[in-house]
């Protein structure tokens, strides 16, 4: 696993807005930009501009966490968690000191 890839994945996960988007996309895939915006207001009461959400989705896209499929003029976003992501996310586990009670 390359440093660059780990950077992208951890950075993508280090923002609560993006984690909320991930959670939202997991419940309903293939959402457009506007659907994500609308859901943010409807479910969390957080009104974010189109550009802001677009930027967050771009970060997730660069980390390959969302898959893009164009349907006509609509760009749909779906969650795409791969083995590579799981490997990256569990990077810390190899440093867990085992032993101790608990």
């Amino acid at each position: 696993m390359q440093d660059d890839q780990l950077d992208k994945i951890f950075k993508a996960l280090s923002d609560s807005t993006r984690r909320r988007i991930i959670d939202r996309l997991s419940k309903q895939p293939a959402q457009s930009l506007f659907e994500v915006c609308a859901a943010s207001v409807a479910e969390d009461g957080i009104a974010l501009s189109r550009q802001t959400v677009s930027q967050h989705l771009a970060v997730l896209e660069k980390a390959n966490l969302v898959e893009i499929i164009w349907k006509g003029r609509t760009k749909t976003h779906s969650l795409n968690i791969t083995e590579g992501h799981i490997e990256a996310a569990t990077w810390l586990m190899k440093y867990k000191q085992n032993g101790e009670e608990e």
Copy 2:
């Protein structure tokens, strides 16, 4: 798991310099600030100022990833990965789509 805590942990892990420090501390615990600096130069050939390393260690400390023990006038840093950290690191796993070959 609170958003604030997840933020701190993922942010702490999203920098390759900090990941290198974690790796270093896992091999040799109870290192002082200067030892981490020296090891950075010796093992990776990266010369970082004392203050820069200090700041990185502070980020790891705020995420509770390192434990501080004072020995005389020396502040020693050791890795301290808890169940909470593991839980945070595996945050992404609950979104993994199972199924598919592989």
